[in-house]
Symmetry: none
DNA sequence: AATGAATGAGGCTTCATTCAT
DNA sequence: GATGAATGAAGCCTCATTCAT
C-alpha cells in the first residue's frame, strides 16, 4: 500500500515536473528567457511558485534542462533520418530535411533552441556554444564520412560544419522572427543546392535528389 | 567670444556623448544588454547616471544608436572595399574579406552587432531583424549583379543572401564565443571557397583568387 | 486540516493587508501622498517593500482603496445618523454632527479625505472630485427632502450642497491644519446655525435644536 | 554710460524675472507643483535652468512668491471693490462679486491659489494656512463692521469667516476641477443669498440687491 | 547674467529565491 | 509535495540643485 502510494506519488511528481517543463518551454519560447518570470511558468503549469521550486533549483536549471532535452530530441530525429539512408549525400539531404521539417512543425522549439539561448545572457554561452558545436560537429561528421566514401572532395569539415549550421540557423531564424512566416520548406531546395554545391557536389547529383526543381539544369 | 565658448562647450558635450557611447559599447559587448546596468555605463564613462541620462533618453536609445552607427560603419567599409573592385567575384571576395577583417580587429563590435542584439529582448527583434536583413540584402544585391554580369548562374539570391550571411555570422560568432579565439582570418579561404562554390563559381576561378591555398593552383 | 490551515493563512494574509492599509493611512495622513515613500509604508507596517507589493499593485492602488473605504465608512455613519431622525431639519443636524464628531475623533481620517487627496496630484482629481461630489450630492439629497416636506423654502440644492460641503470642509481643514487644534465641536453650534439659516430655517427653529446657546432660547 | 547700462541691465533683469514668474504661474497652474519641473518653467520662460536659478534660490521660492503676489492682487481687488460701497451688505456683495469675477476670468489663478497649494506638500501648509486665514479674516472684518453698523445680528465672525470662505472656495474649486466648467457667475445669486441669509440678512434686503432674480419671493 | 552639463539622492516597481505552514 | 506570503537586491528613470565657463 505504502509502496503503491509512493509509486503513484512518484508518478504524479513526474507528471507535475513535466507539466512545469512544458509550461516553461512555451513561455520561454513566447516571451524569451529574461521576460519570463517564474510566476508565469507557475501559472502556465497551473501550480505555484513554490511548486516550481520544489522541482527545480533555479530558473536557469529549468532552461538548461529544456535546452538539453530539446536538443536531444532533435539530434535523435536527425540520427534516425540519417540512418535510413545509405548514400552520404542522401544522408546529408535527409539530415537537413529532418531539421527543417522539425522546425517547421515546431516554431516554438526552434525559437528556444536557436534564438533565445543568446537572450538568456552570458551565463548560457557555454550551453549555447556546446549546442551549436554539437550540431556543427554532427554535420562535420557526416561530411567526413562523405569524403572518406569519395562522394565529395576533401574540405575543412570543421569550418564547413560551422558554416552549414550557420546558414541553416539563419534561414530558420529569419523565418522565426518574420512577421509573416510563410512556409519554411519552400527555402529548402535552394538551401540544399547551395550547401551541397559548396562542398563540390555536382549539379547533376543535386538535380537528381528528390524534390529538386523538375527540369533543373 | 561667446561663440568660441559655446563651441568649446558643444565640443566637450559631444566628446562626453561619445565617451558614453564608447563605454556603453564595451559594456554591452562584454556583459550583454540586460546584464548591463546604466550605472555600469556611467561608471565606465567616468560620469554619473544623471550624466548619461542627460545625453540619452533611455538605455534602449543608447543601444539603438550603437546598433545603427556600428552597422553603418561596417556597411560603409564593405561598400568601399567592393567599390575598389571591378569583377563581381572579386567584389564578393573583397566584401567578405572586409567583414572578417573588421570583426577580427574588433571582436567587441562583432559581438554587439551579431550576438547581443538577441540578448536585448523581444523588443529589439525588429531592430535585429532589420540589421540582418540589411546585410542579407546587401549580399543578395551583389549576387544579382554577378548574375546579371554572367559571372554566376542564376539562383534564388534572397535565400542565398540569408544563407551566406548566416554562414558568415556563425563562423564569426563561434570565434567570438570561443575560449581560445585563434585567428579568424584562418577560416577565410575555406569559407570563401565554400560560399563561392555554393553559387556555382568554378574551382579554377576560386583557386585563382589571392590567398588561395598554394597547392590548389 | 488543509482547510483549516489555508483558512488560517488567508486570515493572516488579510491581517497583513490591513496592517499595510493602516500604516499607509497614517503615513499618507501625516506626510501626504507624494511625500510618502512605499518604503515608509513598508517600514510602518513592519514588513518589506516587496511585502507591500505582494498585496497591492501600486502605491496609487493603496491610496485609492484607502480613499474609498474611508469615504464609505463616513457615508455609512452619516446615513445611520440621519436614519435615526424623522424631521428633515433634525436629520441635517444629525448629519453635520456625525461628520464633525467623526473628524474630531479621527483627525487623521479627515486629513486623508479632505486635504491629501489634492496632494496626490492631478491624477487623482477624478477621485477627489467624485468624493466631494458624493458628499455634496448627499447634502443636496437631504435638502431636497426637506424642501419636499415643506420644512424649508425651495433653493438651488446643487449649489447649496456644494457650498455647505465647502463650509464644513474648510472649518474642518482649518482645524486640521491649525497648530493648536482646540475642540472642533465648539464651532458646531455656530456652523449649524449658519447653514440652517442659509436655507431659510427660522431662528426659532434653530434655537430649539439641542445644544443651542442657552441665552438664545 | 555705465550708469545707464546698469539701469538697462537691471530693467532687463526685472523683465526676465517676471518672465519666469509668469511662466511658472502658468505651468504650476496647468500641471501642479510636483508635476512641474524647473526645466518646464525654464522652457516656458524661454531661458535655461541656470537662468531660473539665477533669479530664484529654489523652486519653492518661486511658488511662494507667486502665492504671495497672487493673493496680494486679489486682496487689492477686493479692497477696491469694497471701498466703492458704503453699505456693509453692499460691501460684502461687492467683495464676493470681485472674487468670483476674478476667478471666472482667471481660472488659472484660482487653481494656483486654492487648489495647488495643497498639492505642494506639507512644506506649504503654513503658506496655505496663512492665505486662507487672510481671506477668512478679511471676511470676518467686514462682518464685524456690518454687526457694528447694526446691519446684521451678532455672530461668531471668526467661524463665519471660515465657513464663508469655505463655501466660496468649494464652489470655485468644483468649477475649477469640472471637465465642462460652465459659467461661474451663474452660481453667484444662489451663493450670495445663501451666505447673506446665513448671517441673518432679511429676504427682502437680499432680493433688493442688484442681480437678484426679478420677482424673487 | 546666462547656459547647459553634471550630480546623485531617491522614487517606484520587478522578481528570483526562501520559508513557515 | 505544495502554497503563497515575504524578502531585499537591483533596475530604470526623474529632478532639484550646483557649477564651470
Amino acid at each position: 500500500m505504502t509502496e503503491r502510494r509512493s509509486t503513484a506519488q512518484a508518478e504524479k511528481s513526474r507528471t507535475r515536473r513535466e507539466q512545469i517543463l512544458d509550461a516553461a518551454f512555451h513561455t520561454f519560447a513566447r516571451r524569451g528567457y529574461r521576460e519570463t518570470a517564474v510566476d508565469d511558468i507557475a501559472a502556465a503549469a497551473e501550480t505555484s511558485k513554490g511548486g516550481v521550486y520544489f522541482h527545480f533549483a533555479t530558473k536557469e536549471a529549468i532552461f538548461r534542462e529544456l535546452m538539453r532535452t530539446t536538443a536531444d530530441r532533435l539530434a535523435a530525429k536527425v540520427d534516425r533520418a540519417v540512418a535510413a539512408e545509405d548514400d552520404p549525400i542522401a544522408k546529408a539531404d535527409a539530415a537537413l530535411r529532418a531539421v527543417l521539417a522539425t522546425f517547421a512543425g515546431h516554431r516554438t522549439m526552434a525559437r528556444l533552441l536557436f534564438v533565445d539561448a543568446l537572450g538568456a545572457g552570458r551565463a548560457f554561452n557555454a550551453e549555447t556554444n556546446a549546442l551549436h558545436d554539437r550540431f556543427a560537429r554532427m554535420i562535420a561528421g557526416y561530411l567526413d564520412e562523405a569524403i572518406t566514401a569519395g562522394s565529395i572532395p576533401p574540405v575543412d569539415t570543421a569550418v564547413t560544419g560551422v558554416a552549414w549550421f550557420g546558414a541553416l540557423n539563419e534561414v530558420v531564424a529569419r523565418w522565426l522572427l518574420a512577421d509573416d512566416p510563410g512556409h519554411l520548406e519552400e527555402a529548402y531546395p535552394t538551401l540544399r543546392a547551395l550547401l551541397l554545391r559548396s562542398v563540390g557536389v555536382s549539379e547533376a547529383r543535386i538535380a537528381s535528389l528528390p524534390g529538386s526543381p523538375a527540369g533543373a539544369r
